[in-house]
Subunit: 339 residues, 4 copies
């Protein structure tokens, strides 16, 4: 548990860095419009700030859970061979309490030789934090793709390049973070399988725990540190974000156009009209706007100006900006509490 | 999350049953002496009450964590296709808040399409609760062995018997509970692997989650209900516990004898004396007490009465009874809070 | 094992479909040039045929392993309560052999109550086949991205569309296949954890096996069938493949230019020259070809025609086409053997 | 793959040791009667030789599969950045073939950058071998329990003892082997999750593989070496095996008595008679034999001598000895092939 305590302290410090970097990105790109993607298809406009706010919130949740565990769950474990403290006569409870104080760990209610709840919790929480790092790293890898190119990892001497392919700028920090995360998941599996321990001391499961815990700590720390580095130096290309959104010829605004029409002719009719226009645009490879303008059923309802408003991604962001503000204010309040 | 809420309610109710059964066993068998076993070897005496208190505490921890998750982490998820709530114009946040109230779920800070922290937490917590059930079931299976026979699962019509082996009274409840636990661990692995979800909606990981969550809920519930049934009707054979302890000819009391000698001749000398006696007893298959009595180096220090006192398992329980009381008082206070 | 046998037969049939679809794609697109991507960055040109050939080979390997297991490893299990066949007197071995013949299963050497090698093998092999399906599905999802758009899943009535986002053509078959694969991995974990079974019949691990095996079969079959469907109807956009390759302004040909220069000025000097040109192209956002043409150190060595040859992706495919042929001939020979 | 080759060679050598030790135990204890246990309840007599034969067969299966993989599946991987071997012009296939010969690895059909079938196979096979070691170690731990005491691990200087509990002889080799096995399972999970790799080179999954493979090799080797050591020096207490069997007062022979009665009065009537006798014996704690002798419905059918024959464990072993012979002859034939 001393190892876990020190490991948790390191993790908390690096999670602070990740949270700060997410908050800075969320703030700076609060209204930087980009494509929101579902199943990796452009779906609706969103902002890069909202994406970063999502990373931020997940990071804060992991941070809070880890802090709670750090404070209340890392307890002393002291019980003699079978948990009766027999060798200490009737002074066992007192010695156990003093030991906890001495070590700066929480007190135990009972010795927990084979109640592995605390260890399982630690392992599971590392899995959760690693999962969040994996999500961020995955997004960075996807946004860094040659064909997307909306973000790039910081260029670092000796990293991300390729001796035979000098044009490459590989997202190596994110790739390594993802590798760490996969390793953590393996160790969490070990800890889960080790939870059921025989009688007063297990014959195997207990021995499997220590390397799994330290490896899980090591790899989670690695993932968090890598993601911190990636986000702190992330290059964000707002122009490319907008260009990618526009490259679809406006199709990504189909819901917005449907909502605009729906207020005039009802949702069902609007849906059918828009669906038809989408099909024509896709089939004929003609921009969506042209198809809509050419359709009298649309132009009867919406003027060209109204249509352009409905096709403007920046005007169809719903609560995106307000949500960024909510997340940032949550960050500020947790940060103040932590001080 | 509605499924998770109802599933959590069921789990909490059955965990209450497990906790109550553990508490009743801890109370009734507070001072029922039995062998404490490490690596499945008899190590030191303990009480069955302390073993049950250990089960109780782990159950209470799972219960408390599940209750917290039930209250604060099962939140509404509402965000439209990409989390901007665009189709609701500027009323998104308000509608989301009202929806949470309507459904009796916690409010969201942000829509959490691809922030799967909550789902991971739920899965991990189910794994933790299942792990505790697995530990209890494992102990019951081991204590039920033909050669140990200290407990037996409740006999139930049509269960535990064998058509061709009518003498068998199989620990089927515990065996099935263990099978459920293994199944839960598999689903937790799925949820961990599914934590990293692409952009605003995943292409695969999200779709893998729903069956994993419901299967994990189903199997954890199964394990908890089975363990509740097993513990509520558990037969405890105190005489056999004592007989198993005595069958070792007193060797299990070697630490106690060593401590008694140590107060007279120092720990190191005492250790060497006792180790020698243990070896002689094991080699010659002579009871430990006889070997000790025949050794002048021992009898010079300890009278026969003092030796018998040191060989009495019931007199070398350390803080076992006090620990049972601590656990029961923790149970009472958590139970009162829960009402 | 009867379930496994029938499940294996179904899987083999659907794997045949996947292999046939891969072979057809490899054949048709043998020389369809596209970007080869490492860490999701364009690295070097390859052909879509070679990518499909890679899928094909992995599919054939899984098919072959499954076929072997189907033939020789799915054996009868028959041993009475503890594997002695005692109730059959001295006719146990004979009855076991006849039973195997009757059921069309392989013979056992010993009853295998708690030798779970066969079951583990089956589970692991399902994991392997599922892993290959996961690889194919992942590639299809990535190639289907709005910004890549090199392939598209077959449009099917009622699938892949979105009620509120009519422009979307989601890669739902691949997404579901990936979800199935994650589920299979969970069940393989269950089977691995269940491999260590107590004495002559396990108390939990054995009971965990049957649902895990049938779920793993179900989900692997699902993944294979989905991938078969996806590949059989896959739309391939060769023009877009070429356009994506060209969009990088020739940077993806840097290795090719370096090799051309290396034959004149040595590899080290060539590397430095090309690296410098790549940096200038990226920094100034000028096409690579122009930078190279403007650099006297390059133009002294390579004429414009030579440079254009070095910049032609179709001329820098190495053994890609020969490798496709190797894979197809392997497919043909395995197919003939299977008949 | 070079690492895998050398690792496989080490494993094969230690698996040979395990197989040899199992075969020696099977041979020596071919007819050493002991309790067969299902769900950890005494079920029917078996022999320790048959148990060891079961371990042997599982070990041989793992050995054979590993040998096959060693020979045919560990192939060279050579393809340049994206698998086209472009930098080698048209000599790629030839160089790849020569490289395989040079390194003593199997030839590749295609470069397999992101066809991870081979790596998955290796990982899965390590999981399978580890599972068998886990089964053996689990049996040894269970048979070593204080209350069972049928086997004991070899006493080794500095191992298995306990400084404060000098009477203990812990099954530390088996416990550590079990810990290794749990670690292997974690790494197999990592390899399965890493099977789906993006396009021509993965961004994370590939990087996760190398440590997982080497850790899985290291831990599997550890488990195999530990089990070899344990079995080579295993103490077997045949008298205690028989005593444990007899301690149940003959109840474990209920099927045998039922079969003897069935030949006279039919199976159904025999079952009811025996079930009744079992219940009376268990309720009144009177030996089964006495209950049976006192029951006229039994004594009308079976003389005391016939009853004693039916109650003799050594006479109700079915095909146990023949099965040991089958396993040993399989071992001999595989050993001869391997030479």
């Amino acid at each position: 548990m001393l190892v876990a305590r020190d490991g948790a302290d390191l993790l908390l410090a690096d999670l602070d860095r990740v949270a700060a970097a997410c908050a800075a990105l969320a703030d700076k790109h609060r209204s930087t419009v980009m494509a929101g993607r579902t199943l990796l298809q452009q779906a609706l406009p969103t902002t890069f700030g909202l994406k970063a706010a999502g990373w931020l919130l997940a990071t804060l949740e992991g941070h809070r859970l880890l802090l709670e565990l750090r404070k209340s769950r890392l307890s002393v474990q002291f019980g003699g061979a079978t948990g009766t403290l027999a060798a200490l006569g009737d002074r066992g409870l007192e010695v156990a309490r003093n030991l906890a104080t001495e070590l700066g760990l929480a007190k135990q209610v009972l010795p927990w030789h084979t109640n592995r709840t605390r260890v399982t919790e630690l392992g599971l929480l590392l899995g959760l934090v690693a999962g969040t790092m994996g999500k961020i790293a995955l997004d960075v890898v996807l946004l860094s793709q040659s064909e997307v190119a909306e973000v790039a990892e910081p260029a670092m001497a000796g990293r991300g390049g390729s001796s035979t392919l000098p044009h490459k700028r590989n997202p190596v920090g994110s790739a390594l973070a993802r590798a760490c995360v996969q390793g953590v998941n393996g160790q969490v599996g070990v800890l889960l399988a080790a939870a059921a321990q025989e009688q007063e001391r297990a014959a195997g499961a207990w021995q499997a725990e220590a390397p799994a815990v330290s490896e899980a700590l090591r790899l989670t720390s690695g993932a968090v540190a890598l993601v911190a580095e990636v986000l702190e130096g992330l290059t964000v290309d707002a122009a490319r974000m907008r260009a990618n959104l526009d490259a679809g010829g406006g199709l990504v605004m189909s819901e917005s156009v449907m909502m605009a029409l729906a207020s005039k002719i009802g949702r069902l009719a609007a849906h059918d009209l828009v669906e038809q226009a989408v099909r024509s645009a896709a089939a004929a490879k003609i921009p969506f706007r042209e198809i809509l303008l050419a359709d009298p059923a649309v132009s009867e309802q919406l003027s060209a100006a109204e249509l352009d408003a409905a096709l403007d991604p920046g005007a169809y962001l719903g609560s995106a900006l307000a949500l960024v503000d909510e997340a940032l204010s949550r960050y500020e309040s947790e940060r103040r509490q932590g001080e």
